[in-house]
Symmetry: C2
Subunit: 168 residues, 2 copies
């Protein structure tokens, strides 16, 4: 029971890694993000790779991705030549950032393609052709407003949540 902070922090890092996988974020990236989230100071690549036992290459790549997602930013530490990193800590911003990324990369193109298929299947012959069109059109018609809602959430303030909560 020597260093309790380190133990509990490690538990958090692991748990965040598990949550991350559910969001399409790999373990290294999620661990790095988690560790930075609960740090009271900026950390360098060496700090992180040592504490999390990751290779230099892996650490470098995933930090870069975190920065490009906007979940982490680089900061300058006076008198240090290395880069230091700090995580965005506002849960709403973290949530919105991840949501935006996934909409952009995965959902948007799929929904668009679905729309094209709905069009292409217009007026196909036979029971089979008609069912194809009917279902694809239905799915597209369902997903389109859902996506629009998600985009509005991404652009909104965090208080939108309590507004939604009220109608539920």
């Amino acid at each position: 029971m020597e260093n309790k902070v380190q133990d509990i922090r490690a538990r958090f890092v692991d748990e965040w890694g598990a949550l991350g996988s559910a969001w399409g974020i790999n373990r290294s990236m999620a661990s790095l993000h988690a560790r930075l989230l609960v740090s009271s100071e900026p950390m360098s690549m060496d700090d992180l790779m040592e504490e999390l036992s990751l290779s230099r290459g892996n650490t470098s790549t995933n930090l870069r991705d975190l920065v490009s997602w906007g979940l982490v930013r680089q900061v300058v530490v006076r008198g240090e030549r290395k880069q230091f990193f700090v995580a965005e800590k506002d849960p709403w911003k973290v949530f919105v950032t991840i949501l935006r990324e996934r909409l952009h990369r995965e959902i948007d193109p799929a929904v668009d393609t679905l729309g094209r298929i709905a069009q292409a299947s217009e007026g196909l012959p036979g029971k089979e052709g008609q069912e194809l069109h009917r279902v694809v059109k239905g799915l597209h018609g369902f997903l389109l407003p859902l996506r629009a809602m998600a985009h509005r959430v991404v652009g909104a303030e965090s208080k939108i949540l309590s507004a939604i909560s009220r109608v539920l």
Copy 2:
């Protein structure tokens, strides 16, 4: 351009597979689901494995999973000894079913653990201990109502969407 229905249907099956991956559903399972979604008739395991070029074992396992999720159900076809399968076609039900499954399997346990970590980190010493507690508590406090909202959506009627849409 021989059989247009088959071509377009194949496009849809592939696209649904891609969307499925974004939701933690593997390609075989997503393909089977997609093919059944746009079928005007119940299909047997043999129908499916042949059309989608999947092995028997794979088809069997993934159909069973789809049934256990509640996305597909078995039906009896008169005069046939084989099992036949039919997909739930209402987009709202499909959406809610997948959401429920993921909440249950991935989100709920992670959020619970986060809550326990928030508790365990109460009153830790030092700047580091305090930051750990502060951030974990903040994340948990953010995710908890979000999860509650998701659970309410899962239990609601599809018209809840237009109600939410109104406040966005």
